[in-house]
Point group: C2
Chain length 141, copies 2
DNA sequence: TCCTAGATTGGAATTATTCTTGATATTGGA
DNA sequence: TCCAATATCAAGAATAATTCCAATCTAGGA
């Protein structure tokens, strides 16, 4: 079975991530993100994690999130100047922010598309990271 | 002559923007942005503006920038959690952040492309604002 | 078991930005 | 022109997210 990162199920744990000591705090932070696959802030993660680890500090949640981001297990996303949010979907994707409901939807690239197909990149640019954020409304259809 | 916003020359002033009182502070903030067409932070704008208006406060620079953004004369752009930057290019575009030099390059859409051509948008989504940020390196060619 | 590196904690510190308040300036109308 | 209403400005205080720091704590290897 091929364990690509974004194929982890809600209960699988990244026990096999090299160089990462899987402490209870990190496991729980990771678990709550995989459980509800949404885009919580560090504060929201803290609230959720406290259900099982009542003594965990917000600083530790920040540390855990940073570590998980550094190891590529989750992604950090920023909307405007709001608090950072954390996203369990590590596949390359963008986000649609529904102004009415506040909901955030993942937006995938259509298969086979290439950045250079639609953007005038500076000559010689080697892209390492892409962030696409859309804001708008969902028409009540 | 067709004065589209993004066609203003460095010396033209937005004296004709409806509902906007063009105070010396706002004019100067606008001018320094149009002069060097880069992506300064509020602090950098403050430094530049102080050359001509030595008594202007940082709070006023923030106020002016916000007002100009609200009136669509400039754009506010955010990279990660860094300080906001302000961009005189109001045409729809993205940004390429060169990790090596720190330079920020505007990235235009190729003519005729449509968001829905390369992104799987949620059904019924009406896009009001797009933010595209690329990070990478410029290959020394 | 003991040691050590790394992890956790709580609180203090930092930093960008916003808010508050009083002073000042500008506008449109009498 | 003069006044009143309104908008803007300035300075510093306040806020909020995040990071830093110093003191434990813990797990895993020798």
């Amino acid at each position: 079975m091929n364990h690509r990162l974004h194929d982890r199920s809600a209960n699988s744990l990244p026990e096999a991530c090299p160089g990462l000591r899987m402490t209870p705090q990190r496991q729980e932070v990771y678990r709550v993100l995989m459980n509800r696959r949404d885009h919580p802030t560090a504060n929201e993660v803290h609230s959720r994690v406290k259900k099982r680890l009542p003594n965990i500090s917000l600083a530790t949640v920040y540390n855990c999130l940073e570590t998980l981001v550094d190891h590529g297990l989750i992604r950090q996303v920023n909307f405007e100047r709001e608090s950072s949010r954390y996203c369990p979907n590590v596949k390359e994707h963008g986000h649609f922010h529904d102004a009415a409901s506040g909901a955030i939807h993942d937006v995938e690239f259509k298969p086979g598309v290439n950045l250079a197909d639609f953007l005038d990149l500076p000559p010689g640019a080697v892209i390492e990271d892409i962030e696409i954020t859309l804001r708008g409304k969902l028409a009540a259809s």
